[in-house]
Symmetry: C2
Subunit: 134 residues, 2 copies
């Protein structure tokens, strides 16, 4: 049930257009994809760093989850996603350990992956995602 | 000037004793070191995940940086550290790009590494560290 690696770090930003140049020019990373996830009301930009990705999240609607997050906390770290070989089993294992889940079963996420979120009340304030191919 | 990988993710916690079991039992990670960094007024616990580490940060003094962070924002994500081959050069490059620095030159950090922080006002709210062997 151990993650193979950190699949990505999700970072809420006010504007992809203003944030991408920082990641490219200051950190030297390359934005390899921009994807809109309509049902999450976000536009995302991806960068690879070692075996992890950085996923920038720009809200497309103030009432969406990232819009509300930024209104409450400002831009910054949003979530950490662990790569799990079996997302459903990992969620079930977490629930068995007393962790409150946002997603009881995996659902489709960005980049064609299956994903599921743990509730930050059960993870010391760190919004945590499991993701993988199944 | 590109980072080779994310060296670690720093997470502020109220208590290592309460947080370590979550990382071990729910996520299946192993705490391989606990280290006190007296001048930063923190106790740290480290876990490896792929080529990255998770560094839990517990304050040993309410007036220390983690104590103040938790008082203001609660426990959760604190910083991201990028592994840079030459920390001093990477800091200088960031400053040349207009980034405000917390550390103008590298200083010794945990695990024998040289480290330097960028100011979150210049990094869209993401406290960012560069670290490496030189």
């Amino acid at each position: 049930m151990k993650p193979t690696h950190i699949e990505h770090i999700g970072i809420a930003v006010l504007s992809l257009e203003e944030s991408i140049p920082y990641y490219e020019k200051v950190l030297g990373l390359e934005c390899y994809a921009i994807e809109e996830v309509a049902d999450q009301k976000v536009r995302t930009a991806f960068f690879r760093v070692g075996d992890t990705k950085i996923e920038l999240l720009e809200s497309t609607d103030p009432d969406g989850p990232i819009g509300k997050f930024i209104e409450k906390k400002g831009p910054g770290f949003h979530h950490i996603a662990f790569a799990m070989e079996q997302v459903g089993e990992a969620l079930k294992h977490a629930a068995d350990q007393g962790v409150r889940l946002i997603d009881e079963v995996p659902r489709p996420g960005a980049e064609g992956l299956q994903i599921g979120f743990l509730h930050p009340k059960s993870t010391q304030g760190v919004l945590t995602e499991f993701c993988g191919n199944e």
